[in-house]
């Protein structure tokens, strides 16, 4: 269906609208996701597909599918997206900022819709990377702020690195399954799981999913991402992007799950993250950091439940995603409103805001009750299902106890975090002189949280009509088989219910003991992998690069030549030795040409003379003669084009040499030591020998059929030209030529920049890159008049 792909790309097109005068009123773009939300709502129960070949020879296609799982996510993406965009228009003081922010957000929305609706592995990866990039732009939105910049860079490095692993994993998966199309891979679960590359492939894919979904120990980018404006934190770093990882697990679970490796890694990583996130959330004092760590925690739970392939697990996952998206987005919006209305997000300085900000408080209240998992809200259902899935389905024996216990403890911590958020911000008596400037925010800013809160309240009350079909089709899409789903808030006194009661009670107890609990937690080591990251990217990498640069790029041309020649000698020589190729065969000397032989002798004599002459000018002259002789050789062997070009090149090179040597004394006045000279002679001789052997070998060994025949035959009929060389250059292999002229231009820019950069400039702190910019930018700016936006 064409409408599907239109829907996916509509937000990106709307982002373009923000370049028009529409940018003066950016709130209007919220209509786009709003309309899309209604569109996707109308698609419930109607699976649709869209397929257009993109790079069919590589198996990459624009292949989209809207199944139950995708539909649930598209509703979350467009629904919360609408509220966030409305919020955005009031959040920013400057309209320009709001427009720029909305544009990034809309591009992200297309990428996110793309991830969930793609039915081609490569396509998923492309959209996946776009989300990382837009996330980078959004985190670094306030680029004047050092924290925003480093947070953005950190997020990009971690999720981008995970993206690389994911790409490798997806390529392996496609290789094993013989296709990148989900529909064609589906039947091959058994074969994929049994393949010898299954383990590396799974680990790579998990690395991608775990970094994106902020699992321990890769979670540390998410709290750093809180430097983003709050609407971005709400949308990307709680409701949608961080769920891309767990979404991918769900998408691929039918192909990959049901192995000890899958179960073990998901359970261990998920549960560790679940508990760790809850504990660390309590240590935080910044509202957004608290929410970020509790998001990390719940993402851990969403990973852990997917360890089994049971129906319970799938239902728990789907409801967990929906419930969390609703209440956590509401809480993030609340945190942003508090920041906006009071001017601080430090929980120690807040309190009593329910009087000042009643509407914001109402939204937060419902969301917190849902987060704590108190009936009859959606959060309760979600926590209940988590416990049910921890109990019932066949998991490795070792986890029979651990999973349920961890589920209870993790949920209890969530309760404590939620209650602390609500109590310390809105209810408890504030410090006497605190925030008398506090005020309620504009309706656009509190309406979002309230709508989400009401939804989280209403949905469970209308389970059979609203949620059952949605959840049911999503579960079907995950498990690839039909199951009847009927959700109930109350199923009698069951074990999960008892567990829920325990965890809520425990959570409330911990809440009352929170002062002592937090003090205790603060004494524990944080086990934060940021230290490793800092060391790797701020110490090891730059230091290593500096070390390598000083060793390899020491500025001495003589050394560069030795390195280049040495590598050629070593690599080519080793290959020739290993390959044991023939050097001479009966045809080697059949085309012996006496005139060419004479030219060759002259060439050799010239080369020797060039080395021994006393002045630079004479050396240059001899080089020129050598070039002319070489072009004579080309002409003798019937390549007039090559000969002519070579001659011209020689002429220009000669001039360049003369101009360059202008800066040097004419006589070679430096005396080389015996050792240096010996090394030079050795390298030169070895290089000459290697090339000689290479040419002999190339002549004596035919590997495959020569392609020249094809060119000769087709130059006239296909290329309409008699000069085969030219037809190859401008037609058959024009892409190569295109690349070469780009290289030429780069070289010209490099030469100009180098010439402008005098040795004395380096001391003054001039940089090559700056010079390159100066060379390139003026013509580009003048000609194309690109507006370099401040970003």
């Amino acid at each position: 269906m064409v409408s599907l792909i239109v829907a996916v790309f509509a937000p990106a097109i709307a982002a373009l609208l923000l370049l028009t005068p529409l940018r003066k009123r950016p709130s209007w773009v919220a209509l786009v996701p709003g309309g899309l939300f209604l569109y996707f709502l109308a698609q419930i129960g109607i699976p649709s597909q869209f397929f257009v070949p993109w790079v069919p020879s590589l198996g990459v296609n624009l292949s989209f599918q809207l199944d139950g799982l995708a539909l649930l996510f598209t509703l979350i993406i467009t629904g919360i997206g609408t509220l966030v965009l409305l919020y955005t228009s009031a959040y920013f003081d400057e309209r320009e900022d709001a427009a720029r922010f909305s544009a990034y957000t809309l591009i992200f929305m297309t990428a996110m819709l793309g991830i969930v609706t793609s039915a081609n592995l490569i396509l998923i990866f492309v959209f996946w990377e776009i989300t990382s990039l837009t996330s980078y732009l959004l985190i670094g939105f306030n680029h004047d702020d050092e924290a925003a910049r480093s947070g953005a860079r950190r997020a990009l490095i971690v999720t981008g690195g995970g993206g690389l692993a994911l790409m490798a994993g997806l390529l392996l998966l496609g290789l094993i399954g013989g296709s990148f199309e989900m529909t064609e891979l589906l039947g091959q679960g058994e074969a994929i799981r049994g393949h010898s590359l299954y383990t590396p492939m799974l680990l790579l894919i998990l690395a991608g999913a775990f970094t994106k979904s902020a699992q321990y120990p890769f979670h540390f980018w998410l709290p750093g991402a809180m430097a983003a404006p709050t609407p971005a934190s709400t949308y990307l770093h709680s409701a949608t992007m961080v769920k891309a990882g767990v979404f991918l697990l769900a998408r691929l679970s039918g192909l990959l799950n049901d192995t000890p490796l899958w179960e073990g890694s998901l359970l261990i990583v998920g549960l560790v993250t679940f508990i760790y996130g809850g504990l660390v959330a309590l240590r935080q004092t910044d509202l957004k950091a608290i929410l970020a760590y509790s998001t990390v925690s719940w993402l851990g739970a969403l990973v852990a439940v997917q360890s089994s392939n049971s129906e319970y697990a799938a239902v728990a996952f789907v409801v967990g995603v929906l419930a969390h998206a609703l209440y956590k987005a509401a809480l993030f919006l609340t945190a942003g409103s508090v920041d906006h209305g009071v001017g601080t997000r430090d929980i120690r300085q807040l309190g009593g805001l329910f009087r000042v900000m009643p509407f914001t408080f109402a939204g937060a209240l419902i969301a917190v009750i849902s987060m704590a998992g108190i009936p009859p809200l959606l959060g309760f259902l979600s926590k209940e299902l988590l416990k049910a899935s921890s109990l019932y389905e066949g998991q490795p024996d070792a986890f029979l106890v651990i999973f349920p216990v961890a589920a209870v403890i993790g949920s209890a911590l969530t309760v404590t975090v939620a209650l602390r958020f609500l109590w310390d911000t809105f209810i408890r008596q504030p410090a006497a002189d605190a925030h008398h400037h506090a005020h309620e925010v504009s309706p656009l800013m509190w309406i979002g949280a309230l709508v989400l809160g009401v939804l989280t309240l209403l949905l469970p009350l209308t389970l059979s009509t609203s949620l059952d079909p949605l959840i049911g089709s999503a579960v079907d899409a995950i498990r690839h088989e039909h199951s009847e789903i009927h959700l109930h808030l109350f199923e009698g006194i069951t074990v999960p219910l008892i567990m829920s009661v325990i965890s809520i009670t425990l959570g409330i107890i911990l809440f009352f003991a929170r002062t002592r609990l937090i003090a205790f937690l603060l004494r524990l080591p944080e086990l934060n992998p940021t230290v490793v990251y800092q060391w790797l990217f701020y110490r090891a990498l730059p230091d290593g690069a500096a070390w390598m640069t000083t060793r390899l790029q020491n500025g001495r041309l003589h050394f560069y030549l030795l390195v280049v020649m040495g590598s050629v000698i070593f690599l080519t020589g080793a290959l020739l030795l290993l390959g044991q190729v023939n050097l001479i065969n009966e045809e080697s000397f059949m085309n012996f040409d006496p005139i060419a032989a004479v030219v060759c002798v002259l060439l050799i004599a010239g080369a020797i003379t060039g080395v021994v002459v006393p002045t630079r000018l004479s050396a240059i002259a001899i080089l020129g003669i050598e070039g002319a002789l070489l072009s004579l050789l080309f002409a003798l062997f019937g390549a007039p084009d090559l000969a002519f070009t070579q001659l011209m090149i020689e002429a220009v090179t000669l001039v360049l040499f003369v101009l360059a040597f202008h800066f040097l004394p004419n006589a070679f006045d430096t005396k080389l030591s015996r050792v240096t000279a010996g090394i030079d002679i050795l390298f030169a001789a070895a290089a000459g020998l290697t090339v000689t052997i290479l040419i002999l070998a190339a002549n004596a060994n035919t590997i495959g059929e020569s392609i020249s025949g094809w060119y000769l035959e087709n130059a006239e009929s296909v290329g309409h030209g008699h000069n085969v060389v030219n037809v190859i250059l401008v037609d058959f292999r024009a892409l190569d030529t295109q690349g070469e002229i780009v290289v030429l231009i780069i070289a010209a820019i490099g030469v100009t920049a180098l010439l402008r950069l005098r040795p004395s400039d380096q001391a003054r702190g001039k940089h090559l890159t700056l010079e390159v910019e100066k060379v390139i930018l003026p013509p580009v700016q003048a000609d194309v008049s690109i507006k370099v936006e401040e970003s």
């Binding site: 007039p640 011209m648 001039v655 101009l659 024009a734 002229i741 010439l755």
Partner: protein, 144 residues
């Protein structure tokens, strides 16, 4: 830069000849030795001679061509030649030919490969000239 009257005269004499010859090479390249690359080099040869005779500043002043800008135009023309194939046909760089007949002139062969070759000509011409002129300018500055 030289003060030799003879060389200066020769450079001025040769410049139009070389440029015409380079255009000739460019246009005949598809069927006989020549083409955009070597044509561009020959054309740049004229600039090189002028630079050696009169100095980079003088040449820059008289020609009023910014080669650093011109090389991007060349690249643009080559790209456009490639894009025509993508838009009209199936693939980037796919060749298209247009052979109109003119009374008194004969049949012309205009094609995207020719357009591409013109782009290559301009790039090679400009890059070579730009590098040589920059080097020469640097040398002159050193002398002062």
């Amino acid at each position: 830069m030289t003060q030799s009257i003879f060389f200066r005269f020769l450079a001025r004499l040769m410049m139009p000849v070389l440029i015409l010859f380079s255009l000739f090479l460019l246009l005949r390249g598809h069927n006989a030795p020549g083409g955009g690359f070597v044509g561009g080099l020959v054309g740049a040869g004229s600039i090189v001679m002028m630079t050696l005779a009169y100095g980079a500043d003088e040449v820059r002043h008289r020609l009023r061509i910014d080669f650093r800008r011109a090389m991007f135009y060349g690249l643009g023309i080559a790209l456009i030649a490639g894009l025509i194939g993508l838009v009209v046909g199936a693939a980037f760089q796919e060749a298209y030919w247009w052979t109109p007949f003119f009374q008194g002139i004969g049949r012309l062969e205009i094609s995207t490969p020719l357009l591409f070759d013109i782009g290559v000509y301009i790039v090679v011409f400009s890059v070579t000239s730009a590098i040589v002129m920059d080097m020469a300018e640097e040398g002159e500055r050193e002398d002062h």
